[in-house]
């Protein structure tokens, strides 16, 4: 096989997610009353970027064959924290942003430490830490409120040169600064190797613990970036349990749509980003076609159900029935 074929096979999930997103977005904009304008794109980008950050966070953990059910809650917690800290003079705002990101890193590191060094199952451990993070968020914001540095918020949610949504530029920057170096580093490879086959990776002397720890920690950071952006969009902080849960759920949906294998070791954050954007666009299709918003949760649930069931097609390729049981 030629090189490009390998590349194509490796990126198939990502390309598929990209394709789904493009198709959905074309349907969305062509039926939108305002059409394909900078405003429509900006609004869609701002909504999609939130989920994209949380989905990236989920991807990092899923690659290691784990799962982080607390991403939505870290997202809420950092939103509540940002509504206190990211205010005032540019200096204070900068410090506030750094503090929020540090808290996200810390949350991710706690998850990682409990799962890797405490040897607990990721599902139970992250549900429990999620409860803690939600509790802290509720402590910070018992009622919705707070404020944010509006100059910064408007700059990051507006448009660059009047055309390109600034949030997409930030998303691209984060991918270049966090995802690309991580996935090419030794730790990133260790995370992939641990997800693919932990025993084999261990036997080959790959630093799996450090790799997994880095993945969980960076997941916390990415969720915190999402939380910051939520604050920039809403100008407030709110600890809404349902919203945190929804983001956790949607992040899994986005990861699945983005071609990341839930068994670990396969997929990329880029795919998850397109998965997130596609998921958001599909959810918004209902508004374009004038459905009652009440139907949206059901619609999103059905999409999720169909998306995860698509994975079952792999069963047709199974030659030995014993491969049903991993």
């Amino acid at each position: 096989m030629k090189d490009w074929r390998y590349w194509l096979a490796e990126q198939r999930g990502t390309l598929l997610a990209f394709g789904i997103f493009i198709v959905m977005f074309v349907i969305y904009t062509s039926n939108h009353p305002a059409g394909f304008t900078a405003n429509v794109v900006q609004t869609a980008a701002n909504k999609g970027v939130l989920l994209a950050f949380v989905a990236m966070a989920q991807t990092l953990v899923v690659i290691t064959a784990g799962i982080d059910l607390s991403v939505g809650m870290i997202f809420l917690l950092t939103n509540c924290l940002a509504s206190w800290l990211v205010v005032g003079t540019p200096m204070q705002t900068t410090l506030g942003v750094l503090a929020v990101l540090a808290v996200g890193l810390l949350c991710g590191a706690i998850n990682g430490a409990i799962v890797i060094y405490g040897r607990l199952q990721p599902i139970v451990a992250t549900i429990a830490t999620g409860a803690v993070y939600y509790g802290i968020g509720l402590l910070l914001r018992p009622f919705p409120g707070g404020s944010v540095n509006e100059d910064l918020a408007d700059a990051l949610t507006g448009r660059v040169f009047g055309v390109v949504p600034a949030s997409l530029v930030v998303l691209l920057a984060i991918v270049l600064v966090i995802w690309v170096p991580f996935s090419r580093s030794v730790l990133g490879r260790a995370a992939y190797a641990a997800g693919s086959s932990e025993t084999a990776a261990y036997m080959s002397g790959v630093p799996i613990r450090r790799g997994k720890f880095a993945a969980y920690t960076l997941a916390g950071l990415l969720a915190a970036i999402g939380g910051l952006f939520l604050t920039f969009f809403t100008y407030t902080g709110e600890a809404a349990y349902a919203s945190g849960n929804a983001y956790t759920l949607f992040s899994i949906a986005a990861v699945v749509l983005g071609g990341v294998s839930l068994f670990g070791g396969k997929g990329s954050a880029i795919g998850a980003i397109f998965g997130a954007l596609a998921f958001r666009t599909i959810g918004d299709l209902l508004f374009v076609f004038d459905f009652d918003p009440l139907w949206q949760p059901l619609f999103q649930g059905v999409i999720l159900l169909v998306a995860v069931s698509l994975g079952a097609f792999a069963l047709f390729r199974v030659r030995n029935r014993l491969e049903w049981f991993l």
């Binding site: 040897r119 009440l294 649930g301």
Partner: protein, 328 residues
């Protein structure tokens, strides 16, 4: 569970002590500790009325945790508990609005809805081989969507039937709340199924190694599907009881039961990887969780503090005895 075939009736008592799981013992020790701490805080904490009240509250969680335990023993997890509960409760209350026949069929109908959700989970996990965590999250979302469409986004106005209220709050035997009796019956049935039937043995077998169970001629996929259906049905029944207790179904009534039901099962020493655990442990876990919640509410801890303490306690206890082996 293989040693249950060994030893006779004579060896029963010593074996019971010998086999006592350190996790179950720790859980019971923690219950005693919580009771002690509670009695220091308030004198009425150890009064029979208060403890009976706690047992009644615990029985709702107990019913749900029973189903969760069955699924966890398989090495799977059921995250569709919240909306299985809400769907069961809402559908039971909705059926009650359709005349006398509806009132009679309210409880079975509610449970049936839960069973249906469970069957979808089971088909996904057993036949489509989708990770249980993912498919149950998805069915949870679909159930939520269906209920939101049905209720229009508000809590439904239909109220619980008399039978539901009687089951949740009545006293068939003086002094013993009905809910506790129901939990005892369901628990006894579960113990029987797990220890005395081939279905129960199969569940442990699949939890240990599904491949081996399949090769020994068991239709493992059918067993997995039935287990999920039972779990869904019990979640819905828990929701029906809770609706009877509150005399109404509510939108987010199930949210507060997902983490506790998993925590109760896991704190009771059932391995989250499946194949190991006893119902006694789950009983201990349920009582432990309920007492913890009750102490926090007696201390008038706000919701935020409760969530934090709750998460910390669960992580701490799991670190104490729920860790995976270090060996590779």
């Amino acid at each position: 569970m293989s040693e249950t075939t060994l030893g006779g009736i004579a060896g029963r008592m010593p074996r019971f002590i010998r086999r006592a799981d350190p996790a179950v013992l720790t859980a019971f020790a923690c219950i005693v500790l919580l009771l002690f701490l509670g009695s220091l805080y308030s004198g009425s904490f150890l009064s029979p009325e208060y403890l009976l009240q706690q047992l009644k509250v615990a029985s709702f969680l107990g019913v749900i945790a029973t189903g969760m335990m069955l699924v966890v023993l398989l090495g799977q997890i059921d995250l569709s508990v919240p909306w299985s509960m809400a769907a069961g409760a809402m559908m039971a209350c909705a059926a009650a609005a359709y005349g006398p026949a509806g009132v009679v069929l309210a409880i079975p109908f509610g449970i049936l809805c839960g069973v249906l959700i469970g069957i979808v989970n089971g088909i996904g996990v057993a036949y489509l081989r989708i990770p249980s965590m993912i498919i149950t999250l998805a069915t949870n979302a679909v159930a939520q969507g269906l209920m939101v469409v049905y209720t229009g986004g508000f809590s439904p106005q239909d109220s619980a039937t008399g039978a539901m209220r009687y089951l949740a709050t009545g006293f068939a035997i003086p002094g013993v709340p009905n809910a506790v009796i129901i939990w005892a019956l369901i628990g006894a049935a579960m113990v029987f199924v797990l220890t005395r039937t081939s279905f129960g043995r199969t569940v442990y077998g699949i939890g240990n190694r599904e491949r081996a169970a399949y090769l020994s001629g068991i239709d493992t996929r059918r067993v997995v599907m039935i287990a999920f259906a039972v779990s869904g049905g019990l979640s819905a029944f828990g929701g029906v009881l809770l609706a009877g207790y509150a005399s109404k179904a509510a939108q987010s009534m199930g949210d507060a039961y997902l983490l506790p039901s998993i925590a109760a099962v896991v704190l009771g020493g059932t391995s989250i990887l499946g194949g190991r655990g006893s119902y006694l442990g789950t009983v201990a876990g349920v009582i432990l969780i309920t007492l913890l919640q009750s102490i926090l509410s007696v201390m008038q801890m706000p919701e935020a503090g409760r969530q934090i303490i709750y998460g910390v306690v669960i992580v701490a206890m799991l670190l104490l005895y729920g860790r995976a082996p270090a060996s590779r």
